[in-house]
Symmetry: none
Subunit: 248 residues, 2 copies
């Protein structure tokens, strides 16, 4: 037996069903997850139904923090893995197997808080939310009907994470950077980039989002470090200065 890392956070975005929320709390208690974060829940997460399902996970539920957006809930995280059903992902966003992305999460577990993000029962996560994550995991479900109930997806992901985190399995295949740029740093860079690209006329307001998705996707895939994001922001500042300075 091997406990899951202490700095792992389970994030539920806009959960709709109290039974699901309660079930997830019980699962977190089962697997030793110590923190649940809720982004704008659409149900009473402390209702009778939720508590009834949570059983010994009630304490986790009571101390669960609530946030207004996913970005706020994962702002301090060094690695974020979001989950996604096969059907509704944007083609610009690469999907990883549970083994790939969970192993990657574990490889960085000592670099800071990490988050596993689960979407709405009815609509999953938006593409914008998926792009806040460093990696997007999809569970390999064999049938035509691959829509898992939220809490069952959580059960499978936590079990898989525990399986991979047991010493026998741990293989560090990737010599990845020790610390990735966190979601806030990336957002700040992307916001600067967007402003510049609008100013120089590369982006137009009505098509900006689609093109920025492509740039976000690139920067996520590159697994940029804080100092690299700082370098890119430096480029933007300097270009801005060049545009505004008088012609020689």
């Amino acid at each position: 037996m091997h406990c899951l890392p202490e700095n792992l956070r389970v994030v539920l975005v806009e959960p709709l069903g109290p039974i699901n929320v309660g079930s997830v709390a019980r699962l977190c208690e089962n697997f030793g997850v110590q923190e649940i974060c809720l982004v704008t829940p659409r149900c009473d997460v402390l209702s009778f139904e939720a508590r009834q399902m949570a059983l010994r996970g009630q304490v986790l539920l009571e101390k669960a923090q609530q946030f207004g957006s996913l970005l706020e809930a994962v702002a301090d995280c060094s690695r974020v893995v979001a989950t996604c059903g096969r059907i509704d992902h944007g083609s610009a966003i690469p999907l990883k197997s549970s083994e790939q992305s969970l192993q990657w999460l574990l490889n960085g577990i000592d670099t800071g808080p990490t988050a596993l993000v689960f979407g709405r029962e009815d609509r999953g996560l938006t593409n914008e939310e998926l792009l806040i994550a460093n990696q997007v995991l999809t569970l390999d479900i064999s049938s035509d009907y691959c829509s898992l109930n939220l809490s069952h997806a959580v059960a499978i992901v936590l079990y898989e994470l525990q399986r991979l985190s047991s010493p026998r399995q741990k293989v560090d295949s990737e010599s990845l950077p020790s610390a990735l740029a966190n979601p806030l740093q990336l957002e700040a860079f992307l916001s600067d980039a967007r402003d510049l690209l609008l100013d120089v006329g590369f982006l137009l307001e009505h098509t900006a989002n689609a093109r920025m998705v492509k740039i976000k996707s690139l920067i996520h895939r590159s697994a940029a470090r804080p100092e690299e994001v700082a370098l890119l922001r430096g480029v933007i500042r300097q270009i801005r200065w060049a545009i505004n300075s008088p012609r020689s």
Copy 2:
């Protein structure tokens, strides 16, 4: 993706909760299990609650056969694996890991019907029932509170079974570029970028190489596609145009 074997049966012994029964039916539909057997259920398995949880698994639920005892439900099976929480098993009964017992089940899948047996929510399976099975599986749960909800145990076992039944080398689900930008395209982009960054004063001739190495490293790690490199070159062209155009 790989479907579970056709002759696999999920058996629930005296299930108490209609939500659990419905959830298990949905899971069976998710994983392509084609038969559910119920041993003396203690709830209305076709109630509104059960159907609501089953969703597309309702058909499986409607055609589920009911039996008076576990022995009858698995009488024709060539291999039977029962599940058991850590706490309540008799010491005379050896426990196997999920990997051991599920692999054993799969090895015999061509020899006849096989069954996965799950016990009561409150008391699991009796020792007598455990002894009907060829093997007894226990899920390795890390915390002090290892009592899983019934349907979550089913979710984990079916996912694990599917994982083990897939061909060893899992298909990479990553929708990564079929074609990466080739070295010539990358060089052309990097050369453009270097010229621009020299012009705007971000690079100085004598330090340019060191900084460009960092940018090269980022772009290589992102595994950029040809159209993405084209997009970035478009950005550079547009910035150049903005720098050279007269102030408004």
